[in-house]
Amino acid sequence: MISFKLKTTLSGVKIVGLTVVGIGLAMFAISQSTSVAERVIKISAERYEYSPAKVTLKKGEAVILELTSEDRLHGFHIKELGIRADVLPGQPVRVRIVPDKVGTFPFTCDLFCGSGHGDMSGMITVTN
């Protein structure tokens, strides 16, 4: 098991720690350093949807997902990858990932946020 601890940058943006279970299952990897050239994809959460709800990534390309909330506490959970984060208004969270496998990976809000909570989801698609 490879674990990465929470890291907070000077700008107050959190880099979320990830836990990748099992080398063979590690479809996404995270590096210890952050390059300024890496693409940042902003995903905002607001009851009961993510915007954008569909994100396409290229296999092998390191990207940073910058998660924000427009209204209240939401979760961001990619079950297949063991990635999750708490997203509070005014506190952007950054998740750096390097996809190493093509496929589709749904993400969901896993912190109860109201009547439409069960349908709050999106999809990451990784292509060659």
Partner: protein, 306 residues
């Protein structure tokens, strides 16, 4: 003091016969015949009723008879042949709403309905539908603390709040739990109530408590611990080590078995079998042996208790 006849009558709950689910420390809970469960009755033995997930205020196809369901459950409990010592509601008393005013209206209406319960010793707990959107503010106004402890006939009851902060119990509450347990002997009889399961029943459906394992770790040194919860709208029984966890049927709509469907959507209402899968639970607590006999009382007409 209750006698064996009264005990059996309670177990039959309003005339229903059948089997009783017995939770004891002797391994996984077992089913026993109600009429044969004539364990010695002591003054320390008693009964209580668990009601849960009434979702008052919901309007929709999951339960077209919502206006009737909760009053019907209140009537069923009032008609028990032996009054329980107390009643506990384990959360989701009301259905969620984004409108804080409407949330308070629903809580007020809920209180009016359950005020018709004959037994006045009633404890409440929040579910995420009551308390998840405002960190329990409206709930506290209507019902008081979201976590608390009380003692009844030698049993230490602890109600944990794993919903008003969607992230879990939190370190502060875990410290509070540790304080509650510090004064107890390892043989103390402990019953824990929560809305969500404290263990990972099916985390993909949020049928878990993120830091529930820490609470279980605190409880593990104690020999006599049993947990009751709601949230999953069905009866379920699970062991974490020697600790038994029992969920109860809902008073709104049943949900599918853990992981049996892509999403935890309500089991469709069946007009031919209204109230199917809904019910309340009777619990008989005995001191010697330490055990909790459970009887699930369905609301559906003609259904058998189990």
């Amino acid at each position: 003091m209750i006698n064996n006849r009264q005990r059996r009558e309670f177990l039959k709950l309003a005339g229903f016969g059948g089997v009783v689910f017995a939770s004891s420390l002797a391994g996984f809970p077992r089913r026993v015949l109600a009429d044969s469960s004539a364990a010695a009755i002591s003054p320390q033995d008693f009964h209580f009723v668990q009601m849960t997930d009434s979702h008052w205020g919901y309007e929709g196809p999951n339960n077209p008879d919502m206006q009737v369901t909760l009053p019907k459950a209140v009537e069923a409990v009032n008609n028990l042949s032996l009054d329980p010592d107390f009643i506990i509601f384990t959360g989701d008393l009301t259905h969620t709403t984004d409108d804080p005013y409407e949330r308070r209206i629903r809580m007020k209406e809920f209180k009016q309905i359950v005020s018709k319960l004959k037994v006045k010793n009633v404890h409440f707990m929040p579910g995420e539908h009551d308390a998840g959107l405002d960190f329990g503010t409206a709930y506290r106004e209507a019902f008081g603390d979201t976590r608390y402890a009380f003692e009844h006939k030698g049993v230490h009851f602890i109600a944990l709040d794993n919903v008003s902060d969607p992230r879990g119990l939190g370190d502060q509450q875990l410290a509070w739990l540790e304080t509650q347990l510090k004064t107890l002997d390892s043989a103390a009889r402990i019953v824990v109530f929560s809305h969500r399961p404290l263990f990972d029943l099916f985390p993909q459906w949020e049928w878990a408590t993120r830091d529930g394992g820490k609470a279980i770790d605190l409880l593990m040194p104690f020999e006599n611990v049993t947990a009751f919860y709601g949230h999953i709208h069905q009866e379920n029984h699970h062991m974490t080590g020697h600790i038994a966890h029992h969920s109860a049927m809902s008073l709104a709509w049943p949900l599918p078995a853990p992981g049996s469907k892509p999403k935890p959507k309500a089991v469709p209402w069946n007009p031919a079998q209204p109230y199917a899968g809904l019910g309340v639970r009777g619990v008989t607590a005995t001191a010697s042996p330490v055990a909790y006999d459970l009887l699930e009382l369905p609301l559906a007409k003609g259904a058998q208790a189990s």
